[in-house]
């Protein structure tokens, strides 16, 4: 701690108030650096969040009438069949989406990580679904899956699977919608993995090659471990997005509105409908609070298992 000893040496020459230890200086710097975002998040998300969740103990009709009901909204959840249905749908959706997005994102990033014009074009093509608006995505998938005429429908028919209604059959709709989400989001995660892959020093690969490692071994022993912070990020973010609906909700809602027969009714869709179609803001808030609590628990577990996502770098 050279800095501490230096300041001790000239202790008598400076007023005590200005003598900040290195530790203190670092702490102050830390707080200041974090301040703008912390403030912004607190005001624009934290506050509304607390307010929104606080409504959950009231019955609010959205027209200015509210009544304190304690935990009645939570009790209502327990016997609400649609709530359980949406929970089940959300779980299946998340369990399918997260691994698929991870594999797709990482796989695509590995394919196009080398520089060159070819890969530049390929990257743009993989990212293209992200660049068009949701309403386009919804329409395009509608056209591809529509009964009898859709391209995918005809493909499945020619493969001998009969005439399957990909979005109109409650048994298949969720899978189709998941597929559409993977298609839509994979460019996003590809980009993140590309950033993470760039982070790995090339020397490691060269050293491994010299030692006789094959490509699979390089991947397994160098790439994956060094990608851990990025992987952690991708898994957690995609899990939260699948459940809390940051990216998925809009797409699913616009494609199916939760149908057919509630087979694609995610929990976030249910919350949205309770709030904006039924004006049951109190109940919607209770559902949202439950969601946040569950996600918080999942997050805490994730962080605990990975020592704060820091892995071997601390």
């Amino acid at each position: 701690m050279t800095m501490a000893t230096t300041s001790q040496k000239v202790a008598g020459a400076k007023p005590a108030a200005l003598r900040l230890s290195a530790r203190r200086r670092e702490a102050i710097a830390g707080y200041l650096f974090v301040l703008p975002d912390a403030l912004g998040l607190l005001v624009f998300i934290g506050l509304p969040m607390i307010l929104a969740l606080g409504i959950s103990v009231f019955e609010v009709d959205g027209f200015g009438n509210f009544k304190f009901v304690g935990l009645a909204n939570y009790a209502r959840m327990w016997s609400d069949a649609l709530f359980w249905q949406s929970l089940k749908v959300t779980l299946v959706f998340a369990v399918l989406l997260v691994p698929l997005l991870y594999v797709a994102g990482l796989g695509l990033a590995l394919l196009v990580q080398r520089n060159g014009r070819f890969n530049t074009v390929m990257r743009a093509m993989f990212f293209a679904p992200q660049m068009v608006s949701l309403v386009v995505v919804a329409l395009v998938w509608q056209l591809m899956t529509v009964d009898k005429l859709g391209l995918l429908t005809r493909l499945l028919y020619s493969l001998g699977l009969g005439s399957v209604s990909l979005l109109g059959n409650p048994n298949f709709a969720l899978f189709t919608v998941t597929g559409a989400c993977v298609w839509f989001l994979m460019g996003f995660y590809m980009l993140i993995f590309l950033g993470g892959l760039q982070d790995i020093p090339k020397e490691y690969y060269e050293a491994a090659r010299i030692d006789g490692a094959g490509r699979v071994q390089s991947f397994w022993y160098i790439t994956l471990p060094l990608l851990r912070p990025t992987s952690f990020f991708v898994l957690l973010v995609s899990a939260v997005a699948a459940v809390a609906g940051a990216q998925a909700f809009d797409l699913v809602y616009v494609m199916t509105r939760g149908g057919p027969a509630n087979s694609t009714a995610l929990l976030i869709t249910y919350i949205y409908q309770q709030a904006f179609q039924y004006s049951a803001f109190g109940y919607a808030a209770a559902l949202a609070t439950l969601l946040v609590i569950v996600l918080m628990a999942v997050t805490v577990v994730f962080f605990f298992l990975t020592r704060g996502g820091r892995f071997q770098y601390e």
Partner: protein
Amino acid sequence: MSKRPPILYTVRQANTVRIVWMLVTLVLAVMTIFPLLYMLAIAFKGPTEVFKSNLIPDRPTLDNFIYVLTEVPFWRYLLNTFFVSVVVTVIALFFHTMAGYALARLRFPGREAIFLAMFSTFLVSLPVIIVPLFILVRSMGLLNTYAGLIIPSIFNAFGIFLLRQYYLSLPRELEEAAVIDGAGYWRIYLSVILPLSRPIIAALAILFFLANWNAFLWPLTVAADPNLWVVQVAISNFKSQYAASWNYTMAASTIVALPMLTLFLIFQRQIMESIKTSGLK
């Protein structure tokens, strides 16, 4: 280096492998982009043809593009969206790199708790908080202003989280060298951290810009004034009670996707600039 590397592949085998992978990539890319060809096709079709399943229009027309660009103040909406997206992206990158760096590298009491608290804001999506947020923004007098479009959009824990993870995996040696040289944290941030994070900043620039370019719900809620409309709100306007002018919608969406594509092509090169790490091993 006395040991000769074992020859795993001949040159020709290596080339074949590479070509195979390129083909695989190409096939996947074409499959990915194929559905979007429908969008292009409809953009050039007249209203009666829209739902026919042909990919090449029978009677291709530029009318849809002309309509979108002349009958509707689309240039205004493009400008609005561009302005908002650029400002949000720049400010957000600035704030988030600062926060990410501090959360990854600087030690201060309560750091992990602060990070978890910030991350927890990621767990609530917009539909849940939109009513209180609307009330808040309205009481700040920011309704129907560019500030109302911009400020709330800056703060999103996603970028902070990603940057923190990224900074965690940066080699410490460069910073430590700067600290030993007596540089203050601001200086370290500007001259060491920022340049090192070029790849991730480029990736985030694309993602932030995109998120704001295609944003719909918040702009729709906060800016009812048509002078402030962003492109997605304008595009949703082509949909009426029972039907939609899909040909206009697709033409508008094609127009809207182009700047995004350009931006992507420019920035993705930055992602690929690898960090020079010589001298650290």
